[in-house]
Each structure stands twice: as structure tokens, then as C-alpha cells.
Symmetry: D2
Subunit: 403 residues, 4 copies
């Protein structure tokens, strides 16, 4: 007998749970891709996805995953030999830096470990020292999916400004967009990018590069940009097929339309507040568990934590055991620890992650922490008591969250 | 901001949560209804739905809800003026009795209230007294969806046998089939009926009347049976359209095929054990809550409780408030109290029900009790502490359940 | 190699082709059935399905197929021993008469064969002779799905009026509703019934009984009506569950809502005109084929033909061969001949039917006649030439059809 | 009144009609992307998509459209400054050459117009003259979607061999794969590429680059390849996420699995034969129409025509009118003329294309030619008679097609 039979719940940090309305919208015949409804469909999506990023700038949409967006953004702005600065707070910053290397760029990684956010003062120092302005871009993760650290873009903007440095500020918002508060224009981010499968609640396969006029001007100076990644025809198309450099991703567009309607019907401020509150539900449980034992939140300081994903340590081997137990016994799939290897735990078996992004309500989250409590009991992992009541308390009396 | 945005969870006692495989299977073009695949489809369903009821007898499948099955079963066996005995442990027994009256039968209700099971001794007494064998059938709810009382069919069989009474034993298994253990043949039930939308996990719209050779013989003596309800062509069809007395319910059949595959792949014993355990999860929480306050399980004795639905009292007005709160704030829809009106609470506002039937796992149930805990806190309904940990404990260390 | 691989096309006279929007709408979780959106959903459906029947009267919706609607309508109006008159123009009139017999009524069949419509003069004669008004109802098929004869309700109304006879005029519109023009109120029909799976474009499983105040008054005089069929609570419910005498057919309601939106967005007059024109497309081909050979339309007179289905003879054995050929070689499923048995052809193998009802456009119909042409050629069935160009001509230059 | 209401039929040359099984398979929750079923899912897809291309070589699958596959293939094999030869028989060869330019390569276009295939002798001449082997690749369209010309890869292979030239032979099979016969290994093609949305019957969003060991060896010599396009980790992954250089396109994989099952269940030889025969159905009609008037097939020689798409001229303005007429009046969407502009007709309004690829049967194709016939009549475009009967004749008596 297994208690896993039932509607499975996927709590990994992406893909997130797809709303029924999204999957429904994708279940229809292919449309004409040259004329007719497709034109207004794409135009509306361009308009409304920019409202999610809070930008009046531009967007290029790619049939690609987030790694594609990384490459696309870099391809439009930098040529082989160009230097980029990459403050790192987890595995994904390193991934972006590798992507830059693959294009012949010269990334300079500034390492902040897996438990501290970017120190903007350190970045300002480096930028100030770069009087020749050889650094062309600053690439950072708004939220690093591996460590769940959330980096505030504002101090980075201030650092660039204080240093009087013209490098572009580029934010990887793959894990955070439509979960954690983000205002591209107001916060001075020049380029932001994201994927479809997390806060946007659409199956993986689309990614988005938002850019402002400063970035556009840099692109205009590029001697050559690969046709597939070139954002010019994608953001200023004469014909509809240029939005996607060829055939449109018709069914993803149907799904995305439904998802954008849901987000804007709820209101972005409400979406962010919901994520903030549900993250607190998870934290309330985790903090209580950690009082009594082995479990440890990756980040002690709440203000550094993403509202979309939580990384946890539970002792060598226990992360892996926990994930197996919840999947086999309770219908809950947790995320594995990524980039958390240590000398004692070279495969990161002591970690797991809870994804709490996208189409998410109190029932789903309270169910997840309930199952983890059961797992801690079953696997006899020492843990503090009263975690679930604390979690329920946050649902019962959510703090006001203002944006 | 509402924490209800996300995948809604419906925890009413039917319709239950439909598996994705069922909805997927229903999303296809209509088939030919006169020949081809439909023939083997229906034959396989007939075979496999009888395995759910644990009978080698017969089944007639109706395009109808459970109320239709009530009428169908009675229409095949009784003529105006016939007497039937109806031991009642909740609203649904009364509903069936009304259906009998609508057909001109004479139901004799034996009332056991809303908190006690049927007393088989009392039934035996009545049957023994009926030396003329005027009572033609004994109609009872295996589980009454309103009170969540589970009545054991075996003592009733024994009562009939002890009284040497030929009346047919008829079980309403609408709320219990494929949730609570049931062996039609072994337990001596002559007629059993159910609907598609609970343990069978298919949208409402199909119902099933299972009958054995004794019931078949009674039907054979009937002077006239309405063509639509007549189970003879439906259970012994010459042509495929006779299974449904006309056009087949094609899409429901597609869904039912998927659901039966899921049930038999899991194994009926495992399905029952899962329901038994998940019911204990709900009870563990409820019993703890009830220690400290207003909340009260309808049935104190665990052995009388259904594994599919739990009825609770929380104080006048509070049932209604709780249901509104969980739907608006947490994405959880609870069932309303049915047939629980009292003089002080004429609209039954003090009750609610938790459905825990069908496509159900530990995550779903722990989420439901987590939300109810939040509701008790938010609405300041006095309740005992530690309920959620107790619930998680059942998931962590399920008792062995044998059938 | 088979040319049947591809999107199959079902051209049987029901179920018809389900629109994607309908199947999409049905692919969603079950809703609460006691409160919330379900209430407005059902109310809207009641309102809009009456607009399809063109009645300001009442409707009871049943979870049942068309045979259920037959029984439901009779159950509300007649008691055992009551006489009903059944003018017959095909198998389905006989089916309804059998249903009446099953309820203990005394149907009097007036046979008009399979190639002539009802002769209203003959009906008037019978009614005039029934001075005691023993005949309580006149039951006829607006369109008989087997013969494809369309009977005009107006002369029947006139016959009743001329005879001064109070019997109710009851129309079986299962095959015709939302295909062939129909105005229940204006044409003086007292009771009309239909199913979900033809012109209404929803999977089989729902049926509808429309009735006017005259019929309602007759119902009010009935000593007893079966609870499941009783249309009183279904048409004047106090609580939402009464619409369906128990659990609502939730997913069919979702689908029906989508279908009604499609019908009323197009406009009923346009829907009827489309069916009228597409029927002419089929006829143009069939008439040309019949010039040169074996193929014969069941009805020579266009004004007698349904716009929803066409019955054809092609010579003993050839109907069956044709159906097998088109399914195996071209992806087209044709309807079998029903109720067309003769002494020489006891299994009706010489007939087939083309369903052209519901979600239907010129491409679908021209494809169907194209495949039949190929079948005539492949099976070497003698046939006239130029049929397909004639069919295309109707699409190229449709006659104006006014309602 | 419009005869377009009904199931729309999209006969453009991609996206093709998606099978219900594919859309159904895509309608499910997201899976875990790091472990579990995803691993065997991708492995099976890799195996089975190679069987479609008839190669025992390698494949890299990209989240991208066909244009992405163009760039991916070039990115793995050539560096800025490398020369590639591009024999052109339509717009898409030019598109690929532009993609090469965008990467800094130097494409040499050899123009064969829009009505002639590649002349292999001319290619051999050029290759023979390139004694320094500066030409690194020969890029051609197996089928050019714009002109519907089908180029046989075998003479090109022979030309390379005769010239003793080491350039890689690269085939764009986007429009032809799983429609027109193709044997990558046997025919000596080094690199082949395709997309998901045509013969593979899956929504746009995936593309495929197949390559043999020769191409792999060339890749191994590349100094640097962009990380996203690099086919090494995609074809020799250590971890499942490397197949897609990041997040997997989960829902496309579900759909592709269903589509590959359909193709291999039918058998590739049968799939090709079906396309060959259905193309002949289209041609039979078009050739007859062209006898009497304005309509003209782009290619007079049947052996040069693709089995997946047919390009037609109908006189200036008429192509555009025809497409509008069939969409508005009959539910048929035809493809527009691409790359067919002439001096007199600078917008190519005189052309249209019929897509006949993928999930396709005789009913669909006969419906399409039936609607075009109606359009020719309605728009009074002169045309030969008897076209539809000729088309039906091909279905009735298909020639044997052997591969």
C-alpha cells in the first residue's frame, strides 16, 4: 500500500505546477502562423509580459529554455574578448559565466559563496578600479535557484552609478520573475531575462530577454549578431514570423496567453504578496524544525531568501532519503540539492529544495510541509516540534506585505 | 491578496478529484457507437467494474446519477404496493425511501438517528415478525454520505438469514465503493449500486446497479418494467447499444476505462488500505482538535466511520464560516453539512464534511487538515493543539491494514 | 499502406463531431455541486437551451440519452392505460412507442412506411373520430434518424386544432434540434425533446424535455410520477441539486455551456441555414450518383429530407461494403442503415447513412462525398458522373435560405 | 451564413494537423526534470527519432524552431570565414545562407530558380574546381517549402564523391522528414535537420540535428562552439538535463513520444507511401484544373515534386483571393505563396500552397481539393473539369509505391 496514489504534487523549483487553464489553452489545433489571430496574440503577449517585468522597454521572446536566454542576451551585446563581471551566489551564476566563455567572452567571477548575497560594495570597488571601462556587463542572479539567495538589484545599480561605470546591469530572473517583486525600469536593470516554466506557469520551452534603450544602443554597435539570437527583428518585426525568427511556438503562446491573463487578473502586487506570504509559511515550519535538530535553512536571514524556492540541509544522505520518501509515500516530489557539494558530501545528498513558485495556494504549501514533517518523523531525523501549527498560523494571520 | 490562487482542492464528498488520466482519456473525438472498438470497450468495463464490487453477478450501467441508480434498482424488482424496509442512518436512506414512494412502493423507515449505525438485531426482529414476507427488500446505505456512518452489511445478511426471510438485501454503495472495503458476493448482498463520481474517480453521469441471480430471478417475475430502467437488455445485450438502452455515454466510458485501469493496477486491497489510512490521518487531526474545544466528530467510535467522508460539528454558524474561509483564503472547498439540522441550527450551519475519497494521497489530505487548522485559528474556534503533527504521524507510520 | 491514417472523420448521425472548445471545456477539475459557480452555470444553460428550442416554456434536463428523454416525457404526462397516437415514419417512432408500452401506456401506431412523411389528414381523421378524447398525446419524430424523413409539425398542430382535440403534440427532435429549423412555441408543439450529442455538439449523456404550460397542467393532474423523471423539481428547483435530481453532470455542463455559446454566437438562423446548405451539398452529389446507377436516396422529394442526416440505398451488401471501405481506406466512418430491412435484405446491408449535423463545414462535407465517390469507384458500384463538381457548386453558390 | 463553422482544416505547409493523441499526451502535469521517468522518456525519443531519419548516427535535439536547427548545425561545424556552398531552389535555401552569414561564414549561393531542382553536375563542377577544399559544406533543402521542389540527395553525394571533395553534405529536411522518403545513412548525408511541426506532427518548438561520425570529427576540431548550440553534451550527456542544455521541454517530449509511436506503429515505409499517394491525389486534381485554364502547378515534372507540399499559381491576385475565400466560406486554410514574387506580382498574390503533410488521410485531402474546386467556381477562375473525380480515382485505385 502506498499513500502516494492521488494527484501528484511537484514542489521542485521549476517547472512549477501548470494551471488547468494553461494546459487547456494549449490543447487545441495549430493555427495559421502567417496571418490572422496569431498577430494579435503575439502583440498582446509582448505587451503583457512586459507588464510582468515592469518595463516599458523591449522584449525578445525565444523558443529556448533559460540557458538559451542567457546565450541570447550575451550574443546581442558582447563580442569575443569582451569582459563581463559575474558576482556569484550559487551555481547558476557560474552557469551563466560558462555560457559567456562559450561565446568567447571573458567572465570575471566574484565569488560570494552559497550563503551570502552579493556585496555591492565589493562590486563598486571593482568597477571603480576599472577606469578603462573594460567590463562591459555585470551579470547576476536575482534569485539563484540552487541556493535560494535573493540579490537586491538596487545596490548593484547604485554601485554602477557611484563608480560612474557604463557596464550594463543584467539580471537573471529565471527563478524569480512573477514570484519575487521586481521592477526592471524603476530599479535600473538594463537587461532582464526569464523562462516560461516558473512564475509564468507555462511548460518549459519559451524564454524572454527584456532590454532597455541603453542595451538597445549597445546592440546597435555590434558588428555581427547570430541571426537566431538577434533581438532586433524579434523586437521590431515587420512580419509576424520575425517575432520568433521563423515558425512561432503556437501552443506555448496559447498557454502563455492564459497564464498572463491569470497573473494580471490577480494583479502583480497580489501575486508577489501571495508568494511572500507562502514563503513565510514554508519558513515558519523550517525554522521551527531547525530549532530541534539536524535541519538547517540555507539562509538564516529572512531578507535574503527568495520567495520562490527554499534550500535546506538535513545532514549527509538525508536530503536524498527525504526526497525518495516523500515521492514514494506521499505523492510529493521535492527538488534535489544543486551546487551544494562539500568535501564531506561530494554529491550534495544532504540537501533538498522546496519550490514554492507560480500557481500556488495555501493548501498546496501546507500539504508540502505536512508531508515533510511526516518524512522527518519516518526517517527519524531530529527536528523541532510545532512546525505545522506555526505554518498554519501564517496562513491564518498573514502579515500585510506592501510593494 | 488571497492565498487561494493556485490549484484548487475540492474535498467535498463527491465529485472527488478526477485523475489527469481520466480527463485526458475523455478528451477525444466521439467514436462509432454501433460497431468497432466500442464493443470491446464496454465488455472490458463490465468485467472490470464487477471486480471493483467483488461480484461475479451482473451489472447494468445507467447514464444517470446515483439517484437514477436508486430508481433503476427499485424499478426492476418491485411493483406499486410492494413493501420495503429502510433502516436509516442519515439523509440518504430517506432519499432512497422517497424514491421508492415515487414508484408507488411502501417504504417502512426504521430510524437510527445520525450518530448510530443500523442495529441488525432490531432489523431481525422486524423481519421475523413479517411472517407473511410482505417486506420485499431491505434498503440500506453502506455509507451515508451525510452522517459518514458506515453500516456493516454482514450483520444485516445474518439478520435476514436468521429470520429466514427472503427479502433482497440492497446496499447503496454510492459513497463507499472503491473506498471502503466491500465484497458483494462474500457478504451476501443481493443488489449493490454506486455512481461514477466518488471512488470511481470519473465525472458524475454514470451509475451502476450490480445484482446477483436471486435478484435476477425476482426481476423475471415482474409483470412490467420501464424500458429505460430494465436491466435485462443492459446486462444481457444482443447489440452494443442495448448496454445503455440507446446511445452509449462514449466519453464517460473512455474516462471509466482509465479509472478502472488505475484501480486495478493499484489493487483493490491497496486502494482500501490507502483510504483506511488516509481516513485515520483525518481522524487523528480531528480527534486532537476536539480535545480542546468546539469541534466534534459526528461519530466517536472509529469502527463506525466511513473511510471516504468525515462529518464534523463545530458550533452553530461555524461550519458555514469555516467553509467560506478555506475556499476564499486557501483554495480548499469543504463539503457542507447535510441532513444535520437541529432545532437550534435549522440550516445545519454548525457542520461541515471532509471528503477523502478516490484519487487521494497524503499530500492532499495533509494539506486539507493544515488548512482547517489555519481556519480554526483564523476564526478563533477553540481547538486542541498538536493536531497536524498527529496527522503527519499516521502518514509517517501507517498501521498495517489487512483485508 | 492505408490512406486512413490521419484525423478520423465520423459522419454517423450522432454522436456528431465535438468541437475542440467543447472538449476543452470538459477538461477541468470537478466543481462544487452545492453552491458557487454551478448555480449561474445551470441557470444560464436553462435559459440558452430554451433559445435553441425557441420556447419560452420550461425545460427539464436529464442525465440520460435520448431514450431516457422519451421515457421522462411520457412519465410526466401519462399513466398506465392512457392511449397515445404514434404516426410512424421510421424505426425511432416505433422505439418511442415501445417505451410507452414499457410504462403501461397503450400506443396506437399509424404506419407511414420509411419513404413517406406523416399524412396529417389521416391523423386529423383519427383524432376527429376519437370523440371521447381517449388519445392523450400525439408522439412523432420531427426527423427520424433511420429514414431521414423530416415531418413538419405545423400540419399536425393544425390537425389537432381542426379536430378540436386536446391531446398533447409531442415532438422527438433528437436528430433535428439545432440542425433543422424548429420553433416550438410558434409551431404549437407542446412537448419537445432532444439529446446532447447531435446538433448540440456535446458528448452523449444529457437529454432535454421542453414543455409548455399546457403540458405542465397535465403533469399537475398526475397521481404519481417517478421521482427521477419528475420534471417539477427539475424545472422549478429550490436548490441547485434539484435541477438534476441529485448530483449534477458537471463536465457535460461545462461542455454544453461552450456549445451553446458557439450556437448563439453564430445565430440559430445561421446554424439552420448552414445545415440546409450543407445538406444540399450532400444531395447534389447523391442525386447525380443516383442518375447513373445503383445508388438511391431514400427520399426523392427534397422537401421531405432532414438537413441532419441522409439515408441511402446502394444495393444489397453494398452499404456494408461501402462503410467498411471508407473506414479502412479513407478515415471516414459512415452510419449503418437502421430499420431498413426488407425481405431480400433482412440485415439492411444495402443501406448506409451520412450524418451531417452539428459542428460541420464545407471541408468536412466535401471530403465525405469525395470519399464516397472513391468508394463507389473502388467497389465498382455503378453511379452517375460529375457528382463532386455538383456538390462543390452548392458550396460555391449557395442559395439563399430564409427562416 | 457561413459554411466555415465546423472543425477547421489547416492545409498550410506546417504546422501540420496535430493528432489528438499528441495533444492529449501534452495535457498533463509537469514531471520532475532531474530524475525518474524523464530519463527513459528522452532515451526512447533519441532512439526512435533516429529511426525516422534512418540513421545510426547521432542526434541533438534543440528547443528551437527550424531556423534554430539551421544555426545549431552550422555553429557546430564552421567558424567565421569558412565557405559553404548553397545550391538554391527556393527561398529557404537563401534563408539558411543568411543564417550562415550571420555566423560569419561565407555562403556561395548557386541559384537554380524556383522551378528546377539542383543540377548535381553543376555542383560537381564547382567542387572539382575547389582543389584547395575551401568549401567546407554543401547545404541544400531536401524539400523547399516555398517552391515544393524535392531535391534528391543521392546525386549530390555522388557529385561530392566524384569530385573527391571532403565537404559535408547537409540536408534541410524540415519540410520533408517523415513525409518524403529519406535514408540519411544509405544516401550519404552527413548532417540532416528537421523540426517538430510537420511530418513529426508535434507543435512547433523542437528541432533536430542528426549527424554522422564524419560530422562529429569535424566538430571535434572546432576551437569553440557556443554552449547552447554545442551538440556534444546534447548527444553524449552525462546527466539528463544536458540533453537540452538546461530545462527539458517536458510537454513537447510527451507529445513527441506519442507521435513517434504513431509513426512507427504505421511503419515509415507506409508513412512515405501514404504521403506519396495523397500527393498524387492533390496532383490529379491540380493537373486537371490546369488543363482548362489559369491554374498552374509550380513543377510540371511529378518526379521533382515534394509529397508534403504543393505550390500553385492561379494568376495575379487570385492566390490571395482563393485563400481568403476558402477560409471564410469553407473552413479551409491554405498556405500563402512564399518567395514567388515576380516583377508583375511583387507580393506573390498569384500563388498559394497546399500543405499535405503529417497526420493526413484521404478524407482530409479530398475535402481540401473539393473546397478548392468550389473556390475556383465561386471566384470564376477558369479551370479544367473533372478534377475531383480524378482525385477520387487515385484514392480508389492507389498505385503501388515501393521503397
Amino acid at each position: 500500500m502506498s499513500l502516494a496514489h492521488g494527484r501528484p504534487y511537484l514542489a521542485i523549483p521549476g517547472p512549477s505546477v501548470m494551471p488547468d487553464a494553461v494546459l487547456q489553452a494549449m490543447h487545441q489545433p495549430a493555427p495559421n502562423i502567417y496571418e490572422g489571430d496569431i498577430v494579435t496574440l503575439v502583440e498582446g503577449i509582448v505587451r503583457d509580459v512586459k507588464r510582468v517585468a515592469r518595463t516599458e522597454g523591449h522584449v525578445a521572446i525565444y523558443i529556448a529554455n533559460g540557458h538559451g536566454a542567457w546565450e541570447a542576451a550575451l550574443s546581442n551585446l558582447y563580442k569575443p574578448g569582451d569582459r563581463v563581471l559575474v558576482p556569484a551566489t550559487g551555481r547558476f551564476a557560474h552557469g551563466w559565466a560558462e555560457m559567456a566563455e562559450g561565446l568567447g567572452l571573458v567572465p570575471q567571477i566574484v565569488e560570494f559563496g552559497t550563503q551570502s548575497p552579493i556585496d555591492a560594495a565589493r562590486i563598486e570597488e571593482i568597477l571603480t578600479a576599472d577606469t578603462a571601462h573594460e567590463i562591459k556587463g555585470v551579470l547576476f542572479s536575482h534569485v539563484d535557484t540552487a541556493t535560494s539567495i535573493r540579490n537586491d538589484p538596487r545596490p548593484l545599480r547604485a554601485a554602477l552609478d557611484a563608480a560612474g561605470h557604463p557596464a550594463l546591469l543584467m539580471a537573471d530572473c529565471i527563478a524569480s520573475m512573477a514570484c519575487d517583486e521586481f521592477h526592471m525600469d524603476d530599479w535600473g536593470v538594463d537587461v532582464a531575462l526569464t523562462g516560461s516554466q516558473k512564475g509564468l506557469m507555462v511548460p518549459p520551452g519559451l524564454s524572454f530577454v527584456f532590454f532597455n534603450d541603453r542595451a538597445k544602443a549597445v546592440r546597435a554597435q555590434m558588428p555581427r549578431v547570430s541571426r537566431y539570437w538577434d533581438w532586433v527583428p524579434r523586437s521590431e518585426p515587420e512580419f509576424v514570423y520575425q517575432y520568433f525568427g521563423g515558425t512561432s511556438p503556437t501552443h506555448h503562446l496559447f498557454g502563455l496567453r492564459a497564464a498572463l491573463d491569470m497573473l494580471h487578473d490577480e494583479g502583480m502586487e497580489h501575486v508577489w504578496a501571495r508568494h511572500a506570504t507562502l514563503a513565510r509559511v514554508v519558513w515558519a515550519a523550517c525554522e521551527r524544525w531547525s530549532e530541534g535538530g539536524a535541519l538547517k535553512l540555507n539562509l538564516a536571514d529572512r531578507s535574503l531568501r527568495s520567495h520562490a524556492v527554499t534550500a535546506l540541509g538535513v545532514g549527509i544522505g538525508n536530503g536524498q532519503k527525504m526526497r525518495a520518501w516523500t515521492a514514494e509515500n506521499a505523492g510529493l516530489t521535492l527538488g534535489l540539492g544543486l551546487g551544494m557539494a562539500t568535501e564531506e558530501d561530494p554529491h550534495g545528498t544532504g540537501f533538498f529544495r522546496i519550490g514554492h513558485m507560480g500557481h500556488l495556494n495555501a493548501h498546496m504549501v501546507l500539504g508540502a510541509v505536512g508531508v515533510i514533517e511526516a518524512g522527518l518523523q519516518a526517517l527519524q531525523i531530529p527536528h523541532g516540534k510545532g512546525a505545522l501549527e506555526k505554518a498554519a498560523e501564517v496562513v491564518a494571520q498573514p502579515e500585510a506585505v506592501a510593494f
